[in-house]
Amino acid sequence: MKNRLLWPVLALVALLVLNVVVTPSFFSLRLQDGHLYGSLIDILRNGAPTLLIALGMTLVIATRGIDLSVGAVAAIAGAVTCTYIASGGDPWIGMGLALLLCAALGLWNGFLVSVLGIQPIIATLVLMTAGRGIAMLITEGQIVTVDSPTYREVGAGFLVLPIAILISLAVLGLVALVTRKTALGLLIESVGVNPAASRLAGVKARTIIWTVYVFAALCAAVAGLMISSNVSAADANNAGLWIEMDAILAVVIGGTSLAGGKYSLTGTLLGALIIQTLTTTVYTIGIAPEITLVFKAVVVIAVCLMQAPIRIRVRQGVPA
């Protein structure tokens, strides 16, 4: 386990060092009106939605699945809440409605994958495409702006630290607790490592798979609320666009194999931080906007390659 997380940690440190070299004030924090400000805090705040979605994705990937619909689900969550608030509703009820609807969308994904047996990548592609349409329907094609101080707190508020990152870390702690204190973690890994053996041992694989897709959708919903709350608006087209890619990358960089099985929540945390730090780095070291994506890709490939030999070595130590 230590070995598996070594390279992501080094990559994160390397990125941070690079930033300090370019911008010496990178690590400086200042307390103002009881809020912490600084580049590191920005990374945490902007990385919160990615981390949250990556947590849900980790469990999905551990069962040999993948959820491409999380970005669209995030957009739907923002659309529902903003439309509700804009029509004079209470923000708390609006957020509750969003979570309910997204849980239902998670049930839909879980149904396609576990009951109908559709390949996860295809099953969730349905909602990835259709979900943006649903969000458009809800917002009637407009960018819905709201003016609700309560709602604004979710994505932009502070309790010394940004509320968004506190939520994400709380969910991380909760998932770690639930998977460790109940048998969910064991059963998820068991289904991911060997579905056939798990079935013969009587594991309710269907329920497990259903659970992780609902959880992933809920994570996406909360992330969507953060994104939309941060700008006090719901943009059906662009909210959470490509965030599923960042989330999957975060999981992979964190050392969880796309082949399913053993997963690492700590790894996912590191992965999400690397992704966000990378995005920030692109701005601080002044990489031309037209090649930022290429730069990101190069770093991601480098991290994955650095991990690979270690994992291969680990594998070789295990006779098949």
Binding site: S190, A197, L200, K204, G317, V318
Partner: protein
């Protein structure tokens, strides 16, 4: 006799840590059908792959058509005239019959594929093996059997001198097998040498001219089919001479009430309907060759496969076995023969593997308390002598025997009433084997019902109170009490003329 077209001498093939073939000689003559026989792991597939260049030789020489050869792979072998047809149809089901037959060697005209010539050529090849279907029809519109025959047409399309058929009949019904055999005879009469691998004894005697038997990677013998009796074939495959019996230490126990009764239970294409009664405190052995239906019986009893006929009663009440969970609920446990694919969860620890079934039964909300898990792990590690005695060891790193013990323990902690063990002693060392046999006897003495499946007849006969014999996917006999000997079982497995011969001897 003429010169052999294939002459393999002293063939040895090694994989890391395993000698898959040791100094095997094999000859194949033009115009004969030669059956290659042996139990699972005997080296049949390895020998075929050594011939077609898939596996490099550690020692030995392959002579083909008079010269020494060393193929780089199946494609080279095929180009030289050795075609192989595998158990699964390896064709493109979305293309036409003609396209499949001539795939990779399509006739061309001005650089484009000439469809008309292609269909005509394909029709010729189909006519050669007497298969009358439209070459322009899409392959998947035909039943699997016809697809199999198309695969053979493709294989012989390149003037094959040697045709290797690796278990081509396992998915075919009786009429389809007859059609396949008709075609094999046509090819044989044209001088093609046919190497035929199957698990069905009837078919061997129907079609083959000679038989080569392998066991544990070694050549047992080569015989003319006409003078090689079924009983001799079975004993050669299993490695036992008739009449050689070990001292049997039989456990004397009184079986209790019927626990599970199967009435006309069956599944099409898997096992013919059978009746079976299992009493508590009784060990029922299932004997038969590989593919005889012994595993299929176990899977039906556990609900791992759904039966399409008959019913199962537990304690006299009908039980609907929808899947493993419903069987587990009534106290049935099943340990698969395929330890790796259907047994251990390789990346998880011994502890996690051991409590998996118990945990699955409790649901994820009620975790097995760590203290209980540690107690259970400690208890079974000692009881079954699991090594290394480290609950956190990754199960994939354990030896086969120790993995098997972990799987046994996985079910024992759930305290089942009926334990079905499919090949629990295969591929494990002698010590572990003896421990598992003793455990089974002890469990039965405590009142558990056990279904014990093994390819080793001595083992089945020694452990079981009752032996159920399977042949060609049918239950053919049930031998009661202590009078069962290995010879009796072997004779029944061989079936056909074997019974009379066994009685005569």
């Amino acid at each position: 006799m003429t010169e052999p077209v294939v002459d393999m001498r002293g063939i040895s093939v090694e994989f890391p840590g395993v000698k898959a073939l040791q100094e095997v000689d094999f000859r194949l003559f033009p115009g004969e059908v030669h059956a290659l026989m042996g139990e699972n792991g005997a080296g049949k597939s390895t020998l075929i792959k050594a011939l077609t260049g898939v596996h490099p030789l550690a020692a030995g020489e392959v002579r083909y058509a008079g010269g020494s050869v060393s193929f780089g792979g199946p494609a080279e072998a095929q180009a030289a005239g050795i075609s192989t047809v595998y158990q699964e149809v390896n064709l493109c089901s979305n293309l036409t019959v003609a396209e499949n037959i001539l795939l990779g060697r399509e006739p061309r005209k001005f650089g484009r594929i000439d469809g008309k010539t292609m269909r005509a050529r394909a029709a010729e090849m189909l006519a050669r093996i007497g298969l009358h279907i439209d070459p322009g029809s899409v392959l998947e519109s035909h039943p699997i059997a016809v697809q199999q025959l198309v695969a053979i047409a493709r294989a012989v399309a390149v003037d094959a001198r040697v045709l290797v058929l690796d278990e081509p009949t396992s998915s075919l019904d009786v009429d389809e097998v007859a059609e396949l055999f008709r075609i094999i005879r046509v090819l044989r009469d044209e001088g093609v040498a046919v190497l035929f691998v199957t698990h069905f004894l009837e078919q061997v005697y129907e079609i083959s001219d000679r038989i080569t038997v392998l066991r544990n990677g070694r050549l047992v013998g080569e015989h003319a089919t006409a003078t090689f009796s079924r009983i001799d074939l079975v004993s050669a495959m299993l490695g036992r001479e008739m009449g050689v019996l070990e001292e049997i230490e039989r456990r004397t126990g009184t079986p209790g009430d019927p626990l599970l009764v199967a009435e006309g239970l069956g599944r099409k294409g898997s096992v013919a309907p059978f009746d079976l009664e299992i009493r508590s405190g009784e060990v029922v052995g299932l004997a038969g060759l590989l593919g005889s239906g012994r595993t299929e019986v176990a899977r039906l009893l556990f609900g791992a496969d759904k039966a399409d006929s008959g019913r199962v009663l537990v304690d006299g009440k009908p039980v609907h076995l929808r899947g493993p969970r419903s069987a587990i609920e009534v106290g049935i446990a099943f340990s698969s023969e395929d330890r790796k694919a259907e047994g251990v969860v390789a990346d998880l620890s011994v502890r996690d593997n051991l409590i998996l079934a118990m945990q699955a039964a409790r649901g994820w909300l009620r975790p097995v308390p760590r203290k209980l898990a540690d107690e259970l792990v400690a208890k079974y590690m000692e009881m079954l002598d699991i090594r290394p005695a480290n609950p956190d060891a990754v199960v994939g790193t354990l030896s086969g025997g120790n993995q098997q013990k972990v799987l046994l323990a996985r079910w024992l902690v759930t305290e089942p009433r009926l334990l079905i063990l499919d090949e629990p002693t295969r591929g494990i060392d002698v010590g572990a084997k003896a421990q598992i046999q003793k455990l089974v006897a002890d469990l039965a003495a405590e009142g558990m019902a056990v279904v014990f499946i093994s390819a080793e007849l001595e083992e089945v006969v020694r452990i079981a109170d009752r032996v159920v014999v399977m042949r060609d996917r049918q239950k053919v006999a049930e031998l009661d009490g202590g009078a069962v000997g290995v010879d009796d079982v072997m004779a029944l497995i061989a079936g056909g003329g074997g019974v009379e011969k066994a009685v005569a001897s």
